[in-house]
């Protein structure tokens, strides 16, 4: 965090104070001494779907294994300390290092100019390449160019994503982890996955339903990420890597996990390229370039929220009517539905709909799955809102309608529901506004909506604040009219004015 560019603005400075304390104390001290004093080297990595890099031992899930796990141990030993892994979502590793959540990144981080804009990278410890994976029965698609026009899955912020974005013309689907993309490949939602070879070796190779398509290509290097000011830590790590390579410790580790290939011989031939630091980006100053991208994400957010809310409003009504007036068993089922949906996380429900239903032969695209997941989840709370509204209508109203000879349904339709409507407008509006924000969760099933666009732009520009302010402003611009509309509607439905 040595870059002083953004601190010039007092407002942003104040905003950032609670986020990062390190830059406030002048030039940060070298961390190597601190690590040695503490006796522990913390390394950031993502163990979720992280094989063969770092992942829970299938035999003993509380223990982590993987070639990077062994490597971290070997490196720490060279420094005379112990290694401790810190879990961090993969595409947020660089910001995590920036914030001081851990000392180094050791998790298949590619040595690229982009990655070296904000952090320093060590000598390489592994040579990787890109591998196209397809279903066993797919023909062709052996080369990167063949992927044009096809739906292709990649890991968020990976080199594969960068390669395909640069080539263009690919229907790119961005996944938060490696397992999900292969799952969707097998489910037929996408035609290919482009991924780092070690991942493909571990997850795709043993799967009879999948095959490698063509030779691996675009080799590159994995390096360890350290903060730019940690020069002596970097030097110590570089020396350790060189020693581990020379004494064949690396080869031993890589063979153990089945990721050794002749490409690793090239480690010693590595020539660091000079990295030209790009000028730092202020997305606020360059808003005409970034705002349209965010707005395109906002369109998806609005489509999702509006359709999901429409589903929730209608399904919620059906549920509450069944619950209050249906025959015995149906009542019970409606109640169970509400309790189960309310009592389980939306994320799990989305995963079940998106990844679970295909196993029953129901294959929804991400957009439909998102609407269904959000809509059915919110239907439960809407039905509870309605129930509160319906039960707030005095019993005398129902009696008066009955006395006029109205049946149950006529009473509901003409007397109870119209009065309940006004009561439920505030809580339903509240949920609608919450839906705008909750809809960001569908990024886990590859939907690119506003928050996801923000995340992707932020990890490439590192301007979390400028983009964050713009994104927050868009969300606010979406929700505020909804609340104005609700107030207007509520006033319009007032019948107790004198």
């Amino acid at each position: 965090m040595s870059n002083p560019r953004r601190w010039s603005r007092p407002l942003l400075f104040l905003l950032l104070c609670p986020l990062a304390c390190t830059p406030l104390s002048g030039p940060a001290p070298d961390h190597l001494a601190e690590i040695k004093a503490r006796g522990v080297l913390t390394w950031g990595a993502d163990a979720e779907g992280g094989a063969p890099y770092v992942y829970p031992d299938p035999q003993k899930p509380e223990r982590l294994i993987g070639f990077e796990c062994d490597l971290a141990g070997a490196l720490a030993e060279k420094l005379g300390v112990k290694a401790k892994m810190v879990q961090n979502q993969w595409d947020q590793l660089v910001p995590g290092l920036d914030r001081g959540n851990f000392d180094i990144i050791l998790n298949g981080l590619e040595i690229t100019a982009d990655n070296q804009q904000h952090i320093a990278m060590s000598l390489p410890y592994f040579v990787y390449a890109q591998q196209i994976v397809v279903r066993a029965d797919t023909q062709g698609l052996a080369q990167q160019e063949n992927l044009k026009g096809k739906p292709v899955g990649v890991l968020s912020s990976s080199v594969a994503q960068g390669l395909l974005e640069k080539m263009g013309g690919v229907d790119l689907r961005i996944y938060p982890g490696n397992v999900e993309s292969l799952r969707d490949l097998k489910a037929g939602r996408i035609e290919a996955v482009l991924m780092d070879l070690p991942i493909a070796l571990h997850y795709a190779k043993p799967d009879p339903g999948l095959r490698f398509s063509g030779p691996s290509f675009a080799p590159g290097y994995y390096g360890i990420g350290v903060r730019q000011q940690d020069a002596s830590l970097l030097a110590a790590l570089n020396q350790a890597i060189t020693e581990l390579d020379q004494d064949h410790t690396l080869e031993r580790i890589y063979r153990k996990y089945g990721v050794w290939d002749e490409r690793q011989e090239g480690l010693k031939d590595y020539q660091p390229e000079a990295v030209t630091r790009k000028k730092s980006i202020s997305t606020l100053r360059e808003w005409p370039k970034y705002l349209p991208l965010l707005l395109r994400g906002a369109v998806t957010t609005v489509e999702l929220s509006v359709l999901a809310m429409a589903l929730a409003v209608v399904a919620g009504l059906v549920i509450v009517l069944l619950r209050l007036y249906g025959p015995g068993p149906v009542r019970w089922l409606a109640q169970v539905y509400v309790e189960v949906i309310r009592g389980t996380p939306l994320l799990i429900q989305l995963f079940l709909i998106y990844y679970g239903l295909p196993e029953l032969g129901i294959r929804l695209n991400p957009f439909l799955a998102g609407i269904l997941g959000l809509g059915l989840n919110y239907a439960a709370s809407e039905s509870e809102n309605y129930r509160a509204g319906i039960q707030s209508i005095p019993h005398g109203q129902t009696e008066a309608a009955f006395a006029l000879g109205m049946g149950r349904w006529q009473t509901l339709r003409h007397v109870v529901l119209p009065q309940a409507l006004r009561v439920v407008i505030p809580p339903v509006t509240n949920d609608f506004i919450a839906m705008f924000k909750d809809s960001s969760i569908v990024s886990v099933i590859t939907m690119v909506e506003l928050t996801k666009v923000y995340g992707m732009l932020a990890t490439s520009t590192y301007d979390y604040i400028g983009l964050g302010l713009m994104t927050a402003a868009i969300y606010f611009a979406l929700s505020y009219p909804a609340s104005i509309f609700a107030n207007w509607l509520e006033r319009k439905l007032r019948y107790d004015r004198r």
């Binding site: 005398g396 009696e399 009955f402 006395a403 006029l404 019948y495 107790d496």
Partner: protein, 249 residues
């Protein structure tokens, strides 16, 4: 016009009606009096099926319903509806529909239940509003009216269904004294026009002047019945005497 035989109703272990018998001629105005908790309101609510009697038989006009259970078949539900259509109900707390205007409160029943064309229902409603003296309040909402005015609208609403019998359940109890007269005037006029009515009330003046017959309810039974003069001047039973003495003092 009305025949009730051996009507029994209990809530859990408390029996409220102990086999009430009652017969009433067309055009007869009957007033129910009695101490609170004696079952007179329950009796009225059983008549138009807001309460389901445990046993007994209720006949209004040509429709008869046996007590015992809520309607289970569509035939039974239709029978219940037919009985309700013959009995208009006015509640102590008015129970107007707050989200509808005065006019809509009155037209709603005919339009929804009897499929009367809206234009015709509105004409009927305006006539009824004129009858209760509120034709100028047609477009108001209930909350904009006084209690007395609301109760008059409620009477017009019940009349719009063209019932054969009007049931009044303490129609003036929720009203300030100065608002009661306007409601009682409307009821008096109905009685004079020959409407068959059953009125549960504490308004002894009204009972004396308007009732063709007064029933004194006590302990879930009709303890004594007779003309107002008989009940108020020459009560036969000790309990009636005591009650009349208390309320007319």
């Amino acid at each position: 016009m009305i025949a009730v035989e051996k009507l029994v109703k209990s809530y859990y272990s408390t029996t409220v009606l102990h086999g009430v018998d009652h017969a009433q001629q067309r055009g007869e105005a009957v007033v129910l009096i009695g101490p609170s908790g004696c079952g007179k309101s329950t009796f009225l609510r059983c008549l138009n099926q807001l309460e389901i009697a445990d046993s007994g038989r209720i006949t209004i006009g040509e429709v008869t319903i046996e007590g015992g259970h809520s309607p289970r078949s569509s035939g039974e539900r239709e029978q219940q509806r037919q009985l309700r259509l013959r009995a208009g109900m006015v509640f102590q707390s008015f129970n107007l529909f707050p989200h509808r205007t005065v006019l809509q409160n009155i037209t709603q029943g005919p339009i929804v239940v009897k499929n009367v064309p809206p234009g015709q229902a509105e004409e009927l409603a305006r006539n009824l509003l004129a009858k209760v003296g509120l034709e100028h309040k047609a477009e108001f909402y209930p909350a904009q009216l006084s209690g007395g005015q609301q109760q008059r609208v409620a009477i017009a609403r019940a009349l719009a269904m063209e019932p054969q019998v009007m049931l009044f359940d303490e129609p003036t109890s929720a009203l300030d004294p100065e608002l009661r007269d306007e409601v009682l005037r409307v009821m008096r006029r109905l009685a004079e026009e020959g409407m068959t009515m059953i009125v549960v009330t504490h308004e002894m003046h009204f009972a004396r002047e308007m009732a063709d017959r007064v029933l004194f309810f006590d302990g879930g039974l009709v303890a004594e019945s007779g003309t107002p003069e008989q009940i108020f001047e020459h009560p036969q039973h000790e309990r009636t005497r005591e009650f009349v003495r208390n309320v007319t003092r």
